[in-house]
Symmetry: C2
Subunit: 176 residues, 2 copies
């Protein structure tokens, strides 16, 4: 018996993604209420206008039965030559520990690099709660660039990390 | 003979501001072409929707004859409790050296603090060209928080500065 091949990552948002993303992001408990709303608004805008016009790139990891188990959102930073922001990544808690997050992150980096990104920037919190988030990025080759004290709230700072992109051999097969 | 009293700062955008801001910002030569477009888009959105709905706050410094000689744009940062971004400030080169920039900055800080801002964040470039910009903020009590190398372009980093707000005595007269 062989394992079923997981579906390819999907880059085009569809109508059901907004509710699925709200469900997943709320379930992770890593996002503030305001952040949940922003994340859902971003994907809703991409559904309404089309991803190309929204200025955001998405990758969705679907289950075999057609549900969503993870997604990533990233895009070019206005006013920069080749810096991109990795805005959001979330994986359904029921599907965590299977490398879905790393697959989404690596695929996002490749897609961004293919669109001219040279640096990927990530922001997360300095709170102890986000230690797994920081480990996730450090394992993936990200470097701490700065910590802004009290940015999100008194006692809750912002950590900024980055990674140089485009250092991969061109022949490497894309994980998409 | 007494000097005429300068008009009070204006917070409500008007239709002529978009073209005036494009003129002033282009004249300073401190903004990239993409930034000029973004700055004009922001004020156009505030003109169209009303400043309150746009999420941005503005202060305009008008001349006695009704033209614009400077403006500032700032607002709360989504997902934070009390951090605000000071997005833009520009003063007509023909009117520089008169303290108009400092007046706009101080009035922006007071307005933001009155709306609950605790920290004002500013971003500028690490390029030598922006040394006057950095001096402007340092004189006004801002502290360097971080420098992100190669953020805007290779060799052109982003400097992030901040200032704690709301430390002023409540009785101090607002400069508005």
């Amino acid at each position: 018996m062989t394992s079923p091949v997981p579906p390819a990552l999907r880059s085009t948002p569809r109508a059901s993604d907004a509710a699925e993303i709200r469900r997943i992001i709320a379930a992770t408990q890593f996002f503030r209420a305001a952040e949940v709303d922003i994340a859902v608004e971003l994907v809703q805008e991409a559904i309404d206008k089309g991803a190309a016009k929204s200025g955001y790139h998405f990758l969705f990891d679907d289950t075999l039965s057609g549900g969503l188990r993870g997604y990533a959102c990233y895009g070019p930073i206005d006013g920069t030559e080749s810096s991109w922001d990795f805005y959001w990544i979330a994986v359904d808690p029921a599907a965590q520990g299977k490398g879905i997050g790393q697959r989404l992150l690596v695929a996002s980096e490749h897609d961004a690099a293919a669109h001219g990104a040279r640096r990927f920037w990530v922001e997360t919190s300095t709170l102890a709660l986000y230690e797994p988030t920081r480990r996730f990025y450090h394992r993936a080759g990200y470097t701490d660039a700065a910590a802004l004290a009290d940015f999100y709230a008194p006692g809750d700072g912002k950590l900024i990390l980055f990674k140089e992109l485009g250092q991969e051999p061109a022949s490497r097969e894309l994980p998409l």
